[in-house]
Amino acid sequence: MDIAFRPRPAVAAIEVLDLQVRLGGNPVLQGVRLRIEAGRMVALIGPNGSGKTTLLRCLLGLHRPDSGSIHLLDEGPPTPHLLRRVGYVPQRLPLDPSFLLTVREFLAIRRPRTAGWFWRPTRFVDDQLHEAVAEMDVTRLLDRPVAGLSGGQLQRVLICSSLLNDPELLLLDEPTAGVDTPGEEDFYGLIAEVHRRRHLTVVLVSHDLSMVYRHASRVYALNGVICCEGAPEEVMNAESLRQAYGIHFTPYHHHHHHHPGGAHGA
């Protein structure tokens, strides 16, 4: 159920038409059509190799598609100007531990008022960041180096950082890849809370089907093209999704628990 307040329900946060991308001669995206309404929290799912990452890179202006069009926030293609209204939460930071960037410094970089953090007293920076830091519950992490955070801590810091720019659209890449199972539920709760409070559009990009039931109001399944879309229940039972994930796929019907003996599905 979509309980978010939507001020402009007809506006599309993302509109993709006939997007085609070939990588190294192989067709990766073969005419993707996608429309995500503003204000929703949705999931873009697909198995490994389905083109999720490529589509995400196109949406962020990191890869130029061979053909087709992308419209973000009803305005146009992902130019640097338009990307100011978009938040991106990557899976992890490929950061060397020899680089001592702290959470405080990492966050300060993203906000014009604290851009001069290098010359400013810590107190000033903390005052400026206080609200956003409290919202994502990362106050205790401010002095920690970003390179030393756990998966769950890093995700909270990354979301906090992207929220500093008041984005209208938030794209999360495999948000719980580095988060342990008990932490997952808290994490999605936190995103849902942010979504409710800020009325922004949230797109969870993931190969993990289990989270879809509980957290997304709409699911788009990608396998070269958008092979099915709809409410989570419909999509999870669709024949095309079974084919995309292979015939042995069985959807989870409830939130999965930690299995002490078995490996957790990836």
Binding site: L60, F99, I109, F118
Partner: protein, 271 residues
């Protein structure tokens, strides 16, 4: 005590370039570009040889230009081929050294010059070099300070930096150009073989003692200053080339900083 003019020039160059190498080094090490810095330093040998071949008495200009050329080649090959970074750099490093040695061996009377460029020589620092060092300090230092946020963000995550509006590709090229200038001009003091030590050791020493990026940058500046200045000061009375003196001073500071890690550990509250 009165300073000899050559000593004054060498000390001035050291206090200008030492902190600069320490500053840029924080980002060089974090971006895993230590070997890159080493490669462009070695490329300078071919530039020096070409300078002598052209009959120049001061080969600084061809040295800087050839290093820039090799830096550009590394980036170009990286974008155009599927070769690993290490492979590309090892290829250009050995290729430049070989080219330099072939040219130098054809020229009469330059074998003695070789050691100065390999290990550094305070006697070879002219007023022109001091002025260039000051100019590079102002240029590179202000560029790093003005673009500190963009540089930090692209060091943390290039794609994230792109979405935040940083022109990542252009910044990458600019960073490489500034690093090349810094390294090429520091060769007078440290020599081709050891110049990377001034870029790599100060940030590593600072890493052992600092608790934030700001502290790491400030400490790295300080260790660069102490290492370069101290090394040059030791070089003359001990009658040693300045490169090894600077590098050993930096190494002693690094070893001392290891005690700092232990002190920090014992201070940290047990979990």
């Amino acid at each position: 005590m009165e300073l000899e003019p050559f000593m004054l020039r060498a000390l001035l160059a050291a206090v200008l370039l030492g902190p600069l190498c320490g500053f840029i080094g924080v980002f060089v090490t974090a971006r895993r570009m230590s070997f890159f810095s080493d490669t462009i330093a070695h490329a300078a040998l071919a530039g020096v040889a070409l300078g002598f071949l052209l009959g120049l008495s001061d080969p600084t200009v061809p040295m800087v230009l050839f290093s820039l050329l090799v830096a550009g080649l590394i980036l170009w090959l990286k974008e155009r081929t599927h070769l690993l970074n290490d492979t590309i750099m090892a290829l250009l490093l050995s290729g430049s050294v070989a080219l330099g040695m072939v040219i130098l061996s054809r020229l009469k009377g330059f074998r003695g010059e070789l050691d100065r460029y390999l290990f550094g020589d305070i006697l070879s620092v002219g007023w022109g070099d001091v002025v260039l060092a000051a100019a590079v300090l102002v240029l590179v230092g202000s560029a790093l300070l003005l673009r500190l946020n963009a540089l930090s963000l692209m060091t943390a995550h290039p794609d994230l930096a792109h979405v935040a509006g940083v022109p990542v590709r252009a910044m990458n090229y600019a960073f490489v150009a500034l690093l090349t200038l810094t390294v090429a001009l520091s060769i007078r003091l440290l020599g081709i073989i050891l110049v990377t030590s001034l870029v790599v050791i100060p940030p590593a020493t600072a890493r052992n003692l600092a608790g934030s990026l700001r502290q790491q940058i400030l400490l790295s500046l300080l260790f660069g200053l102490a290492g370069a200045g101290g090394g040059v000061a030791l070089s003359y009375p001990m009658d040693l080339p300045s490169g090894p003196c600077i590098t050993l001073t930096l190494a002693v500071l690094f070893v001392a900083s290891l005690a700092g890690i232990r002190a920090r550990r014992s201070q940290a509250p047990s979990p």
